[in-house]
């Protein structure tokens, strides 16, 4: 007689054969993970995007996710659905907090043409106003329905009570559906979909040609952009400066790489509080021999003030001014302080000529702002300079530093110190970059 009270003996799991995916590069950072051990005709592909709801303003990630198949300049949303349905595709886009994902289920024979349609639809979505409005109306209605469900309300309360103050604690209210702009939607799409493919996962009994084709389709976005590879204006300005300095150093005989870390973002005027920027306009900048007007403070005091705002040490300030002068860095391209015959070459001429005892300095007028440096022998004007230039010769502490850089064996030290001070200033506001 069977003893039913006694459970059958259990066996532990000895080992599990985890499937190991083949990994291919789509780009350097974006990979395709491919698993081909499927005993039937099914295939699935997941496109992962860095477009989760944790990014952007509240609701926007989910709206963009809901509009990915809403039509392009060439195709309406119905045409896209027709084409995909004709290939038997089941597809959906999901937006989670950390990422967004497009998933396609299809027969393996159709997966490549389907991906081509999907990629075109998602890359070129035009966010037609009618489609956006329709989606917002539908979402608003669904939201109202959900607000009548206890599970939904409980989830919201949970987020509110437990996660408030964290990125997970953001809760959508109904007005979100009325306050979203198409330009914000387009911007999110551009930044997080066109630029945001992070991973592709492919499952199906596919051959190498098909896998290659899928990689090719996934790459399209990246390749298409390499022609006009995106760089922010802010990065471009800094990069331009870095390149110019490398060239100037090379002209001076030193091949040195100037560090550059991209990642600065631009802001449109509409994202900017114009008035607050007005307050940031400098009244004087001795590094570029700029002054807005006359002040009770002396020009050299304003230079030092600027330097401390930039958190520069005295040597850093000194080497920067000396370098910027010979690089023609004055805001108005005046010759003040440009004590060199080789403008644009990163050399220590500024210091050499500043300390040259054969030059005698005299103010051109009573305001004592602009000075002329004449040859003691001939009396002819050799250089002109401002107070912000001559302070490095007249102030004892700064003069000591200037003497170091003026030494004939300090030419390389000058170039290196200049580049490191430059790099420091260029990255002062980069709180996003790990130090």
């Amino acid at each position: 007689m069977l003893n039913r009270k006694k459970a059958p003996e259990l066996q532990n799991i000895g080992n599990i054969d985890f499937v190991k995916p083949h990994v291919y590069d789509i780009t350097e950072k974006c990979h395709l993970f491919f698993m081909n051990e499927v005993p039937n005709d099914t295939s699935r592909i997941d496109l992962h995007f860095d477009a989760g709801s944790g990014l952007g303003e509240l609701g926007i990630a989910s709206f963009v996710g809901g509009l990915l198949f809403s039509g392009t300049a060439e195709k309406s949303s119905i045409q896209i659905s027709n084409e995909l349905d004709a290939l038997g595709a089941f597809y959906e886009s999901n937006v989670a907090h950390e990422q967004a994902m497009i998933t396609v289920y299809a027969l393996k024979e159709n997966i490549v043409p389907i991906l081509r349609i999907i990629k075109d639809a998602v890359d070129n979505v035009s966010f037609h106003e009618d489609e956006v409005q329709e989606m917002l109306n539908d979402r608003k209605q669904k939201f109202r329905v959900n607000m009548g469900k206890v599970s939904f309300l409980a989830q919201r309360k949970f987020q509110e009570k437990l996660l408030s103050g964290t990125p997970y604690g953001r809760i959508v209210e109904e007005d979100v559906y009325d306050n979203v702009s198409i330009s914000a939607i387009k911007r999110f799409h551009k930044e997080n979909y066109l630029d945001g493919l992070t991973k592709v996962v492919l499952v199906g009994d596919l051959n190498q040609d098909e896998v290659d084709e899928i990689i090719d389709i996934a790459q399209k976005n990246f390749n298409a952009k390499s022609g006009d590879r995106k760089i922010s204006m802010a990065d471009l300005i800094v990069l331009g400066g870095c390149a110019a300095i490398e060239k100037s150093a090379k002209d001076a005989g030193y091949t040195i790489k100037v560090p550059f870390t991209p990642g600065r973002m631009d802001a449109l005027q509409e994202q900017t509080d114009v008035e607050s920027f007005e307050a940031l306009r400098p009244s004087a900048d001795g590094f570029r021999n700029y002054s807005k007007g006359k002040y009770t403070f002396s020009t050299e005091e304003l230079l030092v003030d600027k330097a401390q705002l930039l958190t520069l040490t005295a040597p850093e300030m000194t080497v920067l001014v000396g370098g910027l002068r010979v690089l023609d860095g004055n805001y108005d391209h005046s010759r003040h302080g440009v004590f060199t015959k080789n403008v644009g070459t990163l050399n220590n001429d500024f210091f050499v000529n500043l300390l040259d005892m054969s030059t005698s300095w005299k103010a051109i007028d009573d305001s004592q702002e602009i000075f002329e440096g004449r040859d003691r022998k001939t009396g002819s004007v050799k250089w002109t300079a401002t107070r912000a230039d001559l302070i490095f010769g007249s102030h004892s502490e700064l003069r000591a530093i200037a003497e170091v850089y003026a030494s004939s064996d300090a030419k390389e030290k000058f170039v290196k110190d200049f580049i490191s001070a430059w790099d420091k200033v260029m990255n002062l506001d980069r709180f996003d970059v790990k130090k």
């Binding site: 799991i13 599990i16 054969d17 099914t42 949303s77 659905s81 209605q141 109202r144 329905v145 009548g148």
Partner: protein, 416 residues
Amino acid sequence: MIHFERFKLENGLTVLFHKDITTPMAVVNVLYDVGARDESEDKTGFAHLFEHLMFGGSINIPDFDAPLQHAGGESNAFTSNDITNYYDVLPAHNLETALWLESDRMLSLAFTPKSLEVQRNVVIEEFKQRYLNQPYGDVWLELRPLAYRVHPYKWATIGKEIKHIEDATMEDVKSFFAKHYNPSNAILCVGGNFELEYVKEVVEKWFGEIPSGSKPARVLEAEPEQKEFREKLIERNVPADAFYYAFKMPERKNAGYYMADVLSDALGRDKSSRLYASLKKEQKLVSEIGAYITGSLDNGLLIIGGKLNEGVSFNMFDKALWEVLEKLKNEIMDDTELDRLMIKIRTAREFQEQGLLNRAMNLCQFELLGDANGINEEHEIYYSITPKDVQRMAKEILKPTNCSLLKVKSNQNAES
């Protein structure tokens, strides 16, 4: 092609074995030929309540879930108007644990008053949360009695009213079990990487000694042919007006069932379907719309359901809907459209068959229909359907006299 072996125990239990060498997991699926349609009208909701009780401990085993979980398995069940289905998924080498658990609850439940009390409360809470206390939750409680006058499909699986659940006694429960839960009223399917002889041996070991009982005769009153358009309007605290057009359709074993299924796909399965393209995208009358069939074993329903956009009246929508339906009745669809529906059906089928659990479940359901091999014949039936068949089915069922319409009117605007 899905292979299977069939054998029967002496006590009447039908057993199917489906071999799958590609997975280290096993599935045990038990289908009981009992659903809400087998309840008496004054004691509805019992089949579903019973599904809950089946997890409350059996005669020799106090707790169902814990031993299964210790074996690395999981389990669930569902109840429909037609059947009650239980399944367990676990590592193949622990197959016997699932057979032990399933056979013991087929032998007898523990029938403790506590278990009844707990599950009754759970089901009452489910009734409240899902059917009474959420927008559009009571739609099926209203639509079924509108569409069915006689057949027990007129009540939902959750039950007609909460009172029936509240009043359930231990005596009711025991007699329901005695009548429906016995080997001759069940179909067992074992799926996994096993040999037939082993499966026979362990199934016989655990299920063989269960007394056979007898398969209860099912005599259900047939629903008389509907001859008039039926309509009901209810006002509810919901955000948008909603509509549910229910058309009677052929029973599961009729070839017309498949035609109605394809017809519902053409109307509203995907975003390329006629209702979605015309009424949502072109005319912008609705926020959502879809069409599907209930999949019932007896005469079922083809449902067209959705929600109106703000400012659209039921009448405006009704006119536009019938235009779409008339077009389907009057003009034969072109082959491209049918091809599009068929590739979807084929793709969906391939994915469904991918899962061992789905295969095991479907084998049981086809065996209930008469022959498990139906699972391998079904797609041929679909592929043989022509545009003419779809048109014929449209003409047959998409007519007002075959339609029951439930309208849910929002009273939120009136309030504010």
